[in-house]
Amino acid sequence: MSMLKVNHLTKSFGGLTAVDSLSFELKEGEILGLIGPNGAGKTTVFNCLSGFSPPDLGEVLFKGQAVTGMKPHAICQMGLARTFQIVKPFLTISVLDNVMIGALIGERSISAAEKKSMEILHMAGLGSMANTEAQGLPLPMRKRLELAKCLATDPLVLLLDEVMAGLNATEVDEMISLIRQVNSKGVSILMIEHVMRGVMALSQSVIVINYGRKIAEGPPEQVVKDQGVIEAYLGKEFLDAQG
């Protein structure tokens, strides 16, 4: 079943077309990678999907239902949650309270939301930090918190925007196993990622975009060997020099 279907998504900022007639599909239970060089339009795609910046053209179907033009909170309540590349913790409240905001959307009782949030924090490895103010967390933990907040909203589809950026090798491995665990519970995932180790390890399929257009699609092992993809990342000169 198709969880998320994007048809001819287009978004321009003035004269710049950040996303150009992009179409793809995320199937149920799948982890789909979205990669591309800096400025390729990946985050703009996320902003269009999550309602932060409505697309100029095209449509986004979530479980067959159009969500194009809906407000971010309404899209999230349907089960499509996102993280931010530049993490946005609620700084002056505790880590537990951060996660509880997401949990309280579907749960009216404070104590039930607290219980659920604690379970998520333990899963994300933040259990011992529950009562710390979020501004006391170092970046790797903030990335986990960003994910934990999303999970608390009970998403069916997660949009992960570079949750591995800035992490060291061990932390990347921990994040990979955390994402696997989330996926194994039936959450479909669309992830933007520059850390190729994460992309290779997790995604069944990868979409590569450049200048807002899709230039390749397929299993990760195949995509990284694609001439067009190598050219987009490293330039034509590199390909020529390699002969």
Binding site: S50, F52, K71, P72, H73, A74, C76, Q77, A81, R82, T83, F84, K88, P89, F90, L91, T92, I93, D97, M100, I101, G102, L104, I105, R108, I110, K149, C150, A152, T153
Partner: protein, 323 residues
């Protein structure tokens, strides 16, 4: 936490008994302490908890004061009822302003300008309406009775304003720990992040501004029947808007105790220094002191005095526990 409640219960008992010993002038200072703590608490709901900075809260004080007074003078309606009418009118105006501000995404300084604009426009309109006393304002007749919200001496005002303050603390504490309060705080901390988690920030901002405006307007009615004179430049003016936000800022925004602590520090300082300096012909010097105090707090205690009080009390209790 239980210690804090015990301390507060003891403080409340003391405050309830205080009028037995105090003279009229000192009682008056306490009335102002409670009054400003209440106003600060009302403002706190919108700015301290939800993060939308209002510099025009005098608007709601004015609406509250004028509505109940107008109803009482024209149709003889009791100010107790007029107070609720003023609250509802205030809430309506606030919701109109909130719609403009929140629907069109006015954030930060642009929202501040909107709040000032609404207050100033209302001040000018009221200043030109004959039925509301235009520039010179309205004098209230003194007919002491409970129904008329007017009393001899300061004692009844002391207990009414104390009641206002205590109820506002309870209300804000209930909001703070509820689902509503948590969504308001998320809106304050980061609107985009809150939206991304499914929080309808528009809705919760509207609820916050409605509660805040309603609460503020009630204080307007109290003020009218305590001072007996309504003056548009005072009741809708910038000076009052600034005056009422100083206490929560210095005490600690976004906390239940912040506005109260701020008021217990600032109001006596203001009243006493005003009287003292005025004797020496230095009217207005207390405002300069205020400014300096505000700058110092913002620079060195951006989260208010309450943070230090918390730290100090923990230290005291911890060392007491060890013994």
């Amino acid at each position: 936490m239980n210690r804090l409640y015990m301390f507060m219960a003891a403080a409340l008992a003391l405050i309830l008994a205080l009028p037995l010993w105090l003279d009229k002038y000192t009682l008056g200072i306490f009335v102002m302490i409670f009054y400003y703590a209440y106003l600060g608490q009302s403002w706190n709901v919108l700015t301290g908890y939800t993060g939308h900075i209002s510099l025009g809260h005098a608007l709601y004080v004015g609406i509250g004061a004028y509505t109940s007074t107008f109803l009482a003078q024209t149709w003889g309606i009791s100010p107790w009822i007029g107070m609720l009418a003023g609250g509802l009118l205030s809430m309506t105006v606030a919701l109109c302003m909130g719609y403009l501000g929140f629907r069109f995404g006015l954030r930060g300084v642009y929202f501040v300008i909107l709040t000032i604009g609404f207050a100033e426009i209302t001040r000018l309109i009221v200043s030109h309406i004959e039925a509301l006393g235009s520039f010179s304002g309205i004098f209230l007749d003194f007919n002491p009775s409970f129904i008329n919200f007017q009393f001899r001496g300061n004692m009844p005002y002391y207990y009414i304003s104390l009641g206002f303050m205590v109820v506002s603390m309870i209300v804000v504490r209930l909001i703070e720990t509820s689902r509503l309060g948590r969504f308001m705080i998320a809106t304050r901390e980061d609107e985009d992040a809150a939206e991304a988690l499914g929080v309808n920030t528009f809705k919760y901002s509207m609820i916050a501004i409605a509660i805040s405006a309603f609460m503020t307007a009630l204080a307007g009615t109290f003020y009218a029947n305590y001072i007996f004179y309504l003056h548009p430049a005072t009741l809708f003016g910038m000076a009052l808007s600034i005056e009422l936000i100083m206490r929560p800022i210095i005490g600690g925004m976004g906390t239940v105790l912040g506005p109260v602590i701020g008021s217990f520090i600032l109001t006596p300082l203001s009243e006493i220094s005003r009287a003292y300096f005025a004797k020496g012909g230095l009217e207005g010097l207390h405002l300069i002191l205020y400014g300096i105090l505000a700058i110092l707090v913002v620079l060195f205690m951006p989260r208010g005095i309450i943070v230090y009080l918390k730290g100090a009390s923990q230290w005291i209790f911890n060392s007491a526990d060890k013994k």
